[in-house]
């Protein structure tokens, strides 16, 4: 197809009153390789190829997609979408011009050689296995995805972008007396295979094995209400789920978020500042342009406890009368894009880690979290801990397992009373309405005055 064909399709979409039309062509390729107990188990290629078609009229949207990219098929698709509006033409697009990406956070990285990936996986697997005779199974994998897309929209823009994600996983399982426990690591980046060497993936695998073995002898976590110190890096998952999602315009704009209408108000204690930053070089959640072609931004969400901004996509921005801020994302062409996080973290504070732990007489140190979920309307959340200790008299004491953190996002932000200075980010996949996308969570070590902890170990004494 040539420019005229794209213009014809966009204009067909605008024929019944839509004020904006967009074609999102994707031609991405991914490669995955996985190993179990030292032997390569699967090697796969995964191609994502198709177009997402979006029409907006005021605060209404229609969306469709297809993998048959003939002009006839696309004209049929866009016309059946346009049939949802029954007005007269409100806009026409005359010309399409290629826009230069406004910032260059990410570069194209070629796929790593398959033999280099095999070697790294084997080294990591062996290191984990050698950590202890109690290690019964090691799973490891490397996934790369070269995401390539071109957007044509009725603002007359053509926007192209390309980025290559790489992520490695290792899960080590330890067994003793019929009990099984596991440890895990999953670093990711936009930098290619060299990132995994810098991060010392082999050592991360060893650490995962060490944690699995430690957990075998861990006692069940006690339950009750107690002060909780949450560890840095992946501890930020709690902020991501309980506060990040309710700051997305998709729930804010309709009043479905606890933070709707709270701009300029105190929503967190003074020690809390939070940022969403899509512009960190090579970071897992970064991008040059978002999935509507808008440049990624650094957005201050909370400053010293005051709510300063939301994450706003183009459609919900219309409902809120606020401009989009480079956070409209989608997994691939099959998803209508909406407001999502990029690299989202609580900024570093002034205490040291030892001060935070030292100030806690009896409580829980949730060093790393396993996963969790939140209801964005109410803010109620729950998280499991993958590594947790009891704090006694200001010192880290015994390891415990099966700990769950239960609470409410809006309340917990006000209950954070100490924030340390050891900010670190951690990579993950975030699933929501527009699919599963790469994001970073992060935070320094911090303390929540009191929180409900679930576990099977009885009362904390």
């Amino acid at each position: 197809m040539n420019k005229k064909d794209y213009l014809d399709i966009l204009n067909a979409g605008l024929a019944t009153g839509a004020d904006f039309a967009e074609l999102y062509f994707e031609d991405s390729k991914g490669k995955g390789i996985s190993l179990i107990n030292g032997k390569i188990e699967t090697a796969t290629t995964n191609e994502t190829y198709g177009v997402g078609v979006r029409l907006l009229r005021g605060v209404k949207s229609v969306y469709g997609y297809a993998s048959n990219l003939s002009k006839t098929n696309l004209l049929t698709l866009i016309s059946s979408l346009a049939a949802a509006f029954n007005d007269t033409r409100a806009a026409t697009v005359e010309e399409l011009t290629l826009r230069k990406n406004s910032c260059q956070i990410t570069k194209k990285v070629p796929f790593a050689k398959i033999n280099e990936k095999v070697a790294l996986l084997k080294a990591a697997s062996e290191a984990a296995k050698n950590e202890s005779p109690l290690i019964v199974r090691v799973d490891a994998s490397i996934n790369e995805n070269n995401k390539v897309f071109t957007i044509y929209n009725s603002n007359g823009e053509i926007i192209k972008d390309e980025r290559t994600y790489i992520r490695a996983f290792v899960i080590a399982m330890a067994s003793k007396d019929g009990k099984l426990e596991q440890g895990y690591a999953g670093p990711g980046s936009l930098k290619g295979l060299s990132f995994l060497e810098e991060k010392d993936f082999v050592n991360l695998a060893k650490e995962a094995a060490r944690l699995a073995v430690l957990n075998l002898d861990a006692k069940e976590c006690p339950s009750g209400v107690m002060p909780v110190v949450i560890g840095n890096a992946f501890g930020g998952l709690l902020f991501h789920e309980a506060c990040g999602h309710p700051l997305e315009a998709s729930s804010v704009s309709k009043g479905h978020s606890v933070f709707t209408g709270k701009l300029g108000e105190r929503i967190a204690s003074e020690v809390v500042s939070a940022v969403d930053d899509a512009t960190i070089a090579d970071e897992w959640g970064s991008y040059n342009v978002d999935d509507t072609g808008m440049a990624g931004e650094r957005t201050q969400l909370i400053e010293n406890g005051i709510l300063t901004n939301y994450l706003i996509d183009d459609l919900n921005g219309r409902r809120m009368n606020q401009k989009a801020n480079g956070s409209t994302r989608r997994q691939n062409f099959k998803y209508e894009p909406t407001s999502r996080m990029s690299n989202t973290y609580i900024d570093k504070g002034h205490s040291s880690v030892s001060e935070v732990i030292g100030a806690t007489k009896l409580g829980l140190y949730a060093k790393s979290l396993g996963g969790g979920s939140v209801n964005p309307a109410t803010g109620d959340f729950n998280f499991s801990c993958s590594e947790a200790y009891i704090i006694r008299d200001g010192k880290i004491a015994e390891l415990v397992k099966g700990a769950t953190l239960v609470g409410n996002g809006a309340k917990i932000l006000l209950d954070i009373d100490m924030v340390a200075n050891d900010l670190e980010l951690s990579q993950g996949m975030c699933g929501a309405a527009s699919g599963s996308i790469p994001v970073c969570v992060g935070q320094p070590t911090l303390r929540v005055k009191q929180m409900t902890v679930g576990g099977r170990g009885g009362e904390l004494k």
Binding site: A66, A377, R456
Partner: protein
């Protein structure tokens, strides 16, 4: 589609055999918000996976690009991927089962009914919800979605199977408010027959789900008898059945590995896989092209079989159970339509027998709060305190903790009333002896 050229190219490139599994789905969905259609989607989704065997190992690619011009690249990727595989098992592409129980449950009327008629019901749902109760402060979404799909398998041995299906669902989500407390709730109705849809029933269940959560408090931390509703029972049962996967058993990572023909659940528990029943999940062949059949996995508490695909069956020199399912390059173990045999008492009759206990409506955080291997779980729940045989009050922000394998043995009663869920499971309520609950 004609794959003759691809088969020829594969043969010429030294591949022993290849197999193409594909599914094409056409879907439409419409969402209503504040009396207007807020979004509408039209989707044509094609996924195709091509597996080829080189030197006894599988190479895999998944791609929607099935044009002749792309065939060479497909074969190259298959060869590159197959070349690094080291697992000792020989790759198998299936030549075919002697008999397939093919039936067609495809409901053409669902697809032919004009979208306007389907959308009209959305306005009616919204209106009824609005008029129902002043505490319903926001109708977050009322939606309709339908999908029709064709799944097929073709291989270079000449096996060619395909199946067609369709389903739709209506859903409603609302926000309710009383004093300063906000709760959300919703309901989904799923079927392949438009005549089975009852607007009033969906409205009533949506409202009930949200309103019943208002005024929730925590309860005293201790052990309580627990009545699981079908949704929360399903969440736990899914993890239990995952342990019957022969793949996990052969890798020594299933807690049920030495339990064949032994007691793994209470005597009243019978669990069946029923791929051949008439519902939207009906499948007469699995993702390897093997004929499926209905089977008892657990019979009166005794574990009768593990679930096998071609590879795990070959390892034990036995037949597959037709449970080879998978996406993304690997055929693992899966199942269709899990069914737990119901009991004699209704849910309400069971409640009258409970002096003090908890009815659980929702289990959250399963992906993290449950360790499938050890069976230990600690999960956030919402539910109701039962006192002296009656629902006493709603509970919120409580956690229940226990062990899945013990829980299956501690099932005391199963209800007569059961529910068909989105994932194809059809389950009753289950009364569990007790679980540790942490509240205040």
């Amino acid at each position: 589609m004609n794959f003759k050229k691809l088969f020829e190219l594969a043969k010429a490139s030294g591949l022993e055999a290849i197999e193409i599994t594909s599914s094409t789905a056409k879907s439409t969905s419409v969402e209503l918000y504040h009396g207007e259609i807020e979004s509408q989607q039209i989707e044509e989704d094609t996924t195709t996976q091509v597996r080829g065997i080189l030197n006894g190992k599988f190479g895999v690619i998944s791609t929607p690009k099935l044009e002749t011009a792309h065939f060479k690249s497909i074969i190259n990727d298959i060869k590159e991927n197959a070349a690094v595989i080291e697992k000792p098992e020989k790759a198998i592409i299936f030549k075919g089962s002697p008999k397939y129980r093919k039936r067609t449950f495809y409901n053409q009327r669902l697809v032919d009914t004009p979208i306007g008629e389907k959308i009209a019901k959305l306005y009616e749902i919204e209106k009824q919800l609005k008029d129902l109760d002043p505490r319903i402060t926001e109708i977050m979404s009322v939606a309709y979605a339908e999908s029709s799909f064709v799944t097929g398998i073709n291989n270079s041995y000449g096996l060619k199977l395909s199946a067609k299906g369709a389903y739709y669902y209506y859903s409603a989500y609302i926000m309710v408010k009383e004093n300063d407390e906000v709760k959300t709730g919703g309901e989904i109705f799923l079927s392949d027959d438009l005549e089975k849809f009852d607007i009033t029933d969906l409205v009533r269940k949506t409202a009930e789900d949200a309103l019943s959560k208002l005024g929730g408090t925590q309860c005293e931390s201790k052990k309580y008898p627990i009545l699981l509703n079908p949704d929360s029972f399903a969440a736990l049962l899914g993890a239990f059945i995952a342990s019957t996967s022969s793949e996990e058993v052969q890798r020594n990572s299933s807690a049920l590995k030495d339990m064949l023909n032994q007691e793994v659940a209470s005597k009243i528990v019978t669990i069946e896989e029923r791929p051949l029943v008439n519902n939207f999940n009906y499948r007469y062949f699995d993702d390897e092209g093997v004929a499926t059949y209905n089977k008892r996995i657990v019979d009166k508490g005794i574990l009768k079989t593990f679930l096998y695909n071609l590879e795990t069956a070959a390892k034990e020199g036995r037949e597959t159970t037709g449970n080879g399912y998978g996406k993304g390059g690997k055929v693992g173990i899966g199942y269709q339509n899990l069914y737990v045999k119901p009991g004699k008492k209704t849910k309400d009759q069971i409640i009258t027998t409970i002096k003090e206990g908890i009815l659980i409506n929702e289990l959250q955080g399963l992906h993290a709060g449950l360790d499938e291997r050890s069976g230990d779980f600690s999960l956030q729940t919402n539910g109701f305190l039962i006192k002296d045989g009656k629902i006493d009050r709603p509970l919120s922000l409580i956690t229940v903790a226990g062990n899945l394998f013990q829980l299956m043995k501690d099932i005391r009663v199963l209800s007569k009333d059961n529910k068909l869920l989105l994932n194809g499971m059809e389950l009753p309520y289950a009364l569990i002896k007790n679980l540790a609950v942490s509240g205040k």
